[in-house]
Subunit: 321 residues, 2 copies
């Protein structure tokens, strides 16, 4: 029969593994989510997390009856050992050297590919989001940390040991502010969300006069990147100093990557950027000022389009592609 020769539609399971939840979705080859489910990670041992993922996956599969799902892709918040499926470090889970791909592949009885969550999200944007159809894409995420992912010649760049894209740890100030990674002067130490909050705390704890203190009514737990931006916009010198430093360094560092990578499209995502049109605009302006003219000409810049689903979708598509 002629229909024998029509390839069945391809589906994959996409998993987004954060520090708090495991999400699973059945995704088609165009990046559409057919069904999805979520499980809280109450316990963080590898065995417990694998069970939580398996439960979420089963719920998603149950909600998509009749769909044949052959492969599974995982985007994990952590540092991977190349394409081996081993999570070298996942700070949010307290993991070191966990062979997640192998464990999950056995549990799900399917081939499993594990990539870093930002790389999965960037791949989702490339295949089904803001960079659809582009071959050369640079994606930057500014949230609690700062990260990026490189797509060149239509392929995700993992790097020799799987850690390509560590934009948060380029050095802006040799010997500068101490970063959570233990090194000094990293971009993330000035511009990551956690460090924006830390810098505000430090100023307040050093008794520097600042409108930040009145804005939060003395409750340090209310300090956020959004509060910083608001108080900086009102002209408070402490907030202005921290905020301006962050956007200046982000603009310069991202521009320098645009100069070297010459992407067709730059995608800006992550909580700090997506929830602040002003910060987004300042980064775009910085790239315009500092990227080399030849790499800037024709560059398209856009916000990430898939929101929280980009990692789920990208992980599934990486398993299909």
């Amino acid at each position: 029969l002629a229909t024998d020769f029509i390839a069945p539609p391809a589906y994959a399971l996409g998993i987004d593994l954060g520090g708090t939840n495991a999400r699973a979705a059945v995704v088609d080859a165009n990046g559409r989510i057919v069904s999805s489910a979520k499980r809280r990670l109450d316990e963080r041992s590898p065995a417990a997390v694998v069970e939580a993922i398996a439960a979420a996956a089963q719920s998603a599969l149950d909600a998509a009856p009749g769909v044949a799902v052959k492969a599974c892709g995982v985007g994990a918040a952590g540092q991977l050992r190349g394409d081996t499926g081993v999570v070298a470090v996942a700070p949010n889970l307290g993991w070191r050297e966990v062979p997640l791909g192998g464990l999950l592949s056995k549990r799900l009885a399917r081939p499993v590919r594990v990539v870093n969550d930002l790389k999965a999200a960037a791949w989702g944007e490339k295949r089904a989001g803001a960079a659809l159809g582009e071959r050369d894409v640079y994606t930057v995420f500014v949230g609690s940390g700062v990260g990026s992912a490189v797509i060149a010649n239509g392929q995700l760049v993992l790097g020799a040991t799987g850690v390509a894209g560590e934009l948060g740890h380029v050095k802006m100030v040799p010997g500068g502010r101490r970063c959570g990674c233990g090194e000094d002067g990293c971009l993330e130490a000035y511009a990551g969300g956690h460090n924006l909050i830390a810098q505000m705390r430090e100023a307040i704890e050093a008794k520097v006069a600042t409108a930040l203190m009145t804005r939060i009514d003395g409750d340090l737990s209310l300090l956020t990147a959004a509060v910083l931006e608001e108080v900086a916009a009102a002209g408070d010198p402490v907030a202005v100093r921290i905020y301006e430093q962050a956007v200046a360094f982000l603009g310069q560092a991202i521009a320098n990557q645009v100069t070297v990578l010459n992407p067709a499209r730059l995608i800006l995502g992550g909580g700090v950027l997506l929830h602040s049109p002003r910060t987004y605009d300042r980064i775009v302006q910085g790239v315009g000022l500092f990227a080399a003219r030849v790499s800037r000409e024709g560059l398209k810049i856009s916000p990430a389009a898939l929101g929280d689903d980009s990692g789920l979708i990208g992980a599934a598509l990486l398993a299909i592609d």
Copy 2:
């Protein structure tokens, strides 16, 4: 006959087009030069340059009788329009928008691929030199200018418009020293050979007391990067300032690319680096200090191995590959 099934050895013509000479070589699929020839570029019109290339190519071909050469690759000192064969700008030749690939393909009656000379050289090193067998390679050249080439997933990264690798124009100091490209604060404005000489001249012309003046016996034309290094090593404050600034910025900028690209191997080439073991060592030290630990672990660093032939060899191999 069984021998019908043995593929004939593949050969290609490699062309290295600089500002002064056109070199041609017949190169085999392993990157070995079978024969080569050179022509001076007395006239720099596109037609005259195409004739000079054709003459060099014919000499190389005549010296390799019985070898079937099907394709031709050109490494050109200039900025290319992607993979179209059009040279957008070649400052040394005074060219703008010259369709070199088309002109040369007609003249040589062979398919011709044109890439930037540094990309060709990097490909030569990857296929037959210091990065043999590596999939992820970052190559930096410090000569009169500063440039680089990215190889990721085993492929040369051209970028969306063919200008990937412009390391010389990453911004080290927003609003800093004016660069030859017209922008401010570029790495090349501090660390390229032309700019090292320009900075020494500026100090001398500003009548700043410096041992550089006595070292060259008043003849400004004797200023070179090697003289700078020598006088800096002897402790002259002006030379120390210029030299230390250059190596610090080179170390930081290269380290930041290692952080983002996570190459298996970093190759350092170009006249300023290859003729100065001390400068080479300082850059290696800078990468060790400033690259993120996860990208630095396992990174191999080596000098370019093919010397002046890397571009010829790489251009030919790009036509074969």
